[in-house]
């Protein structure tokens, strides 16, 4: 069954349910793909940052809590 959306006509108060058009379905799929790509990029950046942090702490020979104490 095709996805539907709620249409609220603010002038008349009428509420209807309408099937998405082919154009809306295509836009929805494109949005989802773009969001997934952006999320993957964000996760990769976070992982890289965490790896850098761990590497620096290891080279300094201190724990994360000790680093926080130094910076407080």
């Amino acid at each position: 069954m095709a996805d539907t959306k709620i249409i609220v006509n603010c002038e008349t108060g009428e509420v209807t349910e309408l099937e998405l058009t082919a154009e809306e379905v295509a836009q929805r799929e494109a949005d989802a793909a773009a969001f997934a790509a952006a999320k993957a990029e964000e996760e990769a950046a976070k992982a890289e940052q965490a790896a850098t942090k761990a590497s620096v702490l290891a080279r300094l020979g201190i724990t994360e809590d000790e680093a926080k104490a130094l910076l407080s």
Partner: protein, 171 residues
């Protein structure tokens, strides 16, 4: 002191089975600003999915910047050009029956300048992760806003998601 009056224009709640979007149409141009309260949750296997908004069925000329706090760290970023990013809503991975709470303010929506938007959205989750989003958006279009579409990126809005539209009059 200027007095702002909120007038309820319309409210609707998603029923059983979910809906792809909530669209408010035929919005009168007789108010100064618009405000929306949007309680949002996504279905399917979504984990803090992005909620979005479009005007007048347009999917071009949007931009947005956001600050996102998780409780332990903060990040910032940009939304895409096809809709205004509202923030991270609750998804099916989050605690059952929890919803993200959103407030959207659209000043001068019926004017002939580009349309700015401010948004705050807070997700709810009875677990470690939850997010607070502050977003500023812009629709680079001078048309009066006559319709607004609210949705979650790629998945349906869950049952009981609710949107309420107010008109703000200033005197």
């Amino acid at each position: 002191m200027a007095l702002n009056t909120y007038s309820l224009i319309a409210t609707t709640t998603v029923g059983s089975g979910g809906q792809a979007a909530i669209d408010f149409t035929a919005i009168s141009g007789s108010y100064t600003d618009l405000a929306i309260y949007f309680s949002a949750r996504g279905v399917a296997t979504s984990d803090f999915p992005a909620a979005g908004m479009r005007f007048n069925s347009s999917s071009t000329s949007y931009s947005s910047r956001y600050l996102l706090g998780s409780g332990s760290s903060a990040t910032s970023g940009s939304g895409g050009s096809t809709y205004i990013r509202l923030g991270n809503a609750d998804g099916s991975v989050q605690t059952g029956s929890t919803f993200a709470s959103t407030f959207i303010y659209i000043p001068n929506y019926a004017g002939s300048t580009n349309k700015s938007v401010s948004v705050d959205m807070v997700s709810e989750n009875n677990a470690t992760a939850a997010y607070a989003n502050l977003s500023a958006g812009l629709w680079s279009n001078t048309a009066a806003i006559t319709s607004i579409s609210l949705f979650i990126d790629g998945v349906n809005l869950a049952e009981h998601s609710t949107a309420t539209l107010y008109g703000i009059s200033k005197s």
